[in-house]
Point group: C2
Chain length 342, copies 2
C-alpha cells in the first residue's frame, strides 16, 4: 500500500548486496580508475560517483583511497525554499567561476520524488546546457535514500569531486527540513536563498535555516516585498549574535538576468578571507566532522544490524508488533545486546 | 561557530545521562504513574510524555509496560506546507470529534527553531483555548532532535497517548522533508493539506507528499486558484495507481470559518471503512513497523556506539580527519569491527 520507494527498501539499497555489478566489470581496476579520475576524466568521475552512490562492492576502498587527496576544493552549500530560483543562481555562479577558469562540481539534491521523475529530467536539461564544458560537472541526487542516506551520499560524492581536483563544489538543496541542514553541513560556506512574496509565514522556513546561513541572497529582488524580506532577516539577526561574530551579509540578485552574481561571488570571497583570517575554517571542519562521524557510525552499525537479520525475520517481528503480540522496545534491546529475541 | 542546538548536542540528549531527574523524584512509582495515566489523569499523561521525551531513566520500561495497552486509538497524520492553516484545521477537527464525545490527543510537530521560540509560544496560545476541556490534550514538539530523534519521539508520544485511552490522535506536521514523511508514517490515515497560491512550484512540495496522502484537503478554498490546485492533484493522481486502489478524495475547507470540517470527518470515516473492509489496516501497520524497527535499531546502535567513545576521543578523531591525517572510512570500519583505531 505504500509506494515502491518506501524507506525500508531504500535502507536496504545501501546494504551489502550480491556482487551483480562490480568495479572490475566496469573494465577498470581500482588503481586505473582513480588515476583517470585524478587526471580529470569526466567518465571516470561519473563511474566512481555511481559506484559510491550505489554501494557497489569496493566502494569503501575507493573512498579510503580518495580521502587523502581531498581538501583542495571550496565547498559551497546553496539552500533555499522551493521556487527561490536556486538552480538558476547556481548555474549563474558556476558560469562566473568558469570565467575565472576555476573548475566546478554541482551536486543538485532534488527533493522531487520518483513519482514525477523530476530529478532525472532536471538533470538532463541542465547537463545539456553545459554539455560542451568539461569544467562543469553536474550530478543530481534524489532525496529518497533516507535514514541519513542522503546526507551521507552527498558527503561521499563531495569527497569524490574534491579528490578529482574540482576547485569549487556547490551543493544545491531545498532548505526546509533537517535533511537539508544535514546535507549543507558538508559545506565550508552556506548561502541561504530567499525570495520575496513567499506568503505569510516564510518565517517558518527561515527560522530553521537562519542559523546555518553565512550569506543571505534575496533572489528575484525586483519583485515586490524584497525590502520586507531584508528587514525580516535583519530583525531575526538582531535576536542573536553568532559565536564567530560574523554578520551574514544580504546580497540581492536577479539570477535569471545575471544580476548580482558578481556581488555574490565577492561576498563569498569575503567570507572566505574572514574564515582564513580568524582561523575558523579548520575549527568549522572539526565541528562538522564530529557530527558526521556520529552519522557514519550510526549508519555503519545499522548495516551491521541489518546484515544479522533476514527480511523474513523482520517481517515476522513487524507482524507480531502490529498485532500487539510483541513489544518493540524489548525486541530492540535484545537485538542490540545481541541476545536471541524470543 | 555553529549554534548551540547543533545535531551532535541533540544526539547526546538522547543518550543515557546522569540520573539527575528520575521518575521516583517525581513522587511516583512507575506502577502508580501508569495507573493514573490509564485512568485518564492529564498530569500523569504529561509526566509520562516528558519522561519518554527526555529519556529520563526508566523511560524504556515505561514504554514496554504501556505498549500492550495500545491499539485503541485511531492515528491521523495531518501534514502540509507552511501557511496552509494546519493548526486551525486540526483545532476545528478536534472540536468536531469532541462534539461526538471522542477524546483527542494532538501532537504538534513544530519546525520553528529555538531561535525564534515558536513552538513554546504556539503551544501556550493553543493550550489556553482548550484549557477547560480535559478531552483534548495538546503537545508541541520541536524538530531539533534530529538523527531520527523526532520521528522516534513522535512515535513514542503516540504510544503513550494511545495507552492513555485517547480515541483519536492527530499528528500535525509541516510536510516538506523526509523528517515529516517519517513522522507521518506512524499514522493510520494521512491527510495532506494544500492551499491555493503557494507559488509557481508548489509541485515540488506536493510531489514528495503526494505518495503518502490518503485524503487531500484544499484549505482556504475561497482563495483564487483553488480549482487549479484541484486540477493539479488530479493530474498527478492520473500518473500512478496506488497498490491499494484507493483514490484519495479532495475535500475543500475554510478552516478559519469551520467550513468543510464535517465533510473532512466524513472522508476520514469513509477511508477508515475502506481500510476495514479491505483488511488493509493491519497490512499497513505491519509495513509501518518494518520501517520503524529499522529506525529504532539505528537509534539504539547509535547510542551503543556513542557510549563506546568519549567526547575527547571523538574530538581528536574529528581534528585528525579535518587535517586529513586520518581517513574517516577506515576509522568507522575499525570502530564497528570493535578493533582499536590506531
Amino acid at each position: 500500500m505504500l509506494p515502491e520507494t518506501s524507506v525500508a527498501r531504500e535502507a536496504f539499497r545501501f546494504l551489502p548486496s550480491s556482487p551483480c555489478f562490480t568495479l572490475e566489470r566496469l573494465g577498470n581496476t581500482r588503481e586505473s580508475l582513480i588515476h583517470q579520475l585524478r587526471a580529470g576524466d569526466p567518465r571516470a568521475l561519473a563511474r566512481v560517483i555511481s559506484a559510491v552512490e550505489n554501494r557497489t562492492p569496493g566502494w569503501s576502498e575507493l573512498l579510503k583511497t580518495l580521502f587523502p587527496h581531498t581538501g583542495h576544493a571550496r565547498i559551497l552549500g546553496m539552500t533555499g525554499a522551493p521556487g527561490a530560483g536556486k538552480s538558476t543562481l547556481v548555474d549563474q555562479l558556476a558560469r562566473h567561476y568558469r570565467k575565472e577558469d576555476r573548475t566546478v562540481g554541482i551536486i543538485a539534491v532534488d527533493p522531487t520524488s520518483p513519482y514525477t521523475g523530476g530529478a532525472i529530467l532536471g538533470d538532463r536539461i541542465r547537463m545539456q546546457e553545459h554539455f560542451c564544458d568539461p569544467g562543469i560537472y553536474i550530478r543530481s541526487m534524489a532525496t529518497r535514500g533516507s535514514l541519513g542516506g542522503l546526507a551521507r551520499a552527498t558527503a561521499d560524492v563531495t569527497t569524490v569531486l574534491d579528490a578529482s581536483g574540482r576547485d569549487l563544489i556547490m551543493i544545491e538543496t531545498v532548505g526546509v527540513g533537517q535533511d537539508e541542514i544535514d546535507v549543507v553541513r558538508v559545506a565550508d560556506i552556506t548561502v541561504v536563498i530567499l525570495v520575496p512574496g513567499m506568503g505569510d509565514d516564510v518565517q517558518t522556513i527561515k527560522a530553521g535555516i537562519m542559523e546555518i546561513a553565512d550569506i543571505f541572497v534575496i533572489n528575484k529582488s525586483d519583485r515586490e516585498g524584497a525590502e520586507r524580506v531584508e528587514r525580516e532577516i535583519r530583525a531575526l539577526q538582531s535576536l542573536a549574535t553568532r559565536s564567530d561574530r560574523w554578520t551574514p551579509p544580504i546580497v540581492k540578485t536577479i539570477a535569471s538576468e545575471g544580476k548580482g552574481i558578481a556581488e555574490l561571488a565577492a561576498a563569498i570571497a569575503n567570507y572566505e578571507s574572514y574564515l582564513q583570517k580568524e582561523n575558523l575554517a579548520l575549527k568549522r571542519s572539526v565541528q562538522n566532522w564530529q557530527e558526521r562521524l556520529i552519522e557514519m557510525l550510526r549508519d555503519a552499525f545499522l548495516e551491521k544490524a541489518r546484515a544479522q537479520m533476514s527480511d523474513g525475520e523482520m517481517l515476522r517481528y513487524a507482524a507480531e508488533i502490529a498485532e500487539h503480540r510483541r513489544d518493540p522496545y524489548t525486541l530492540i534491546e535484545q537485538i542490540v545486546e545481541n541476545s536471541e529475541p524470543m
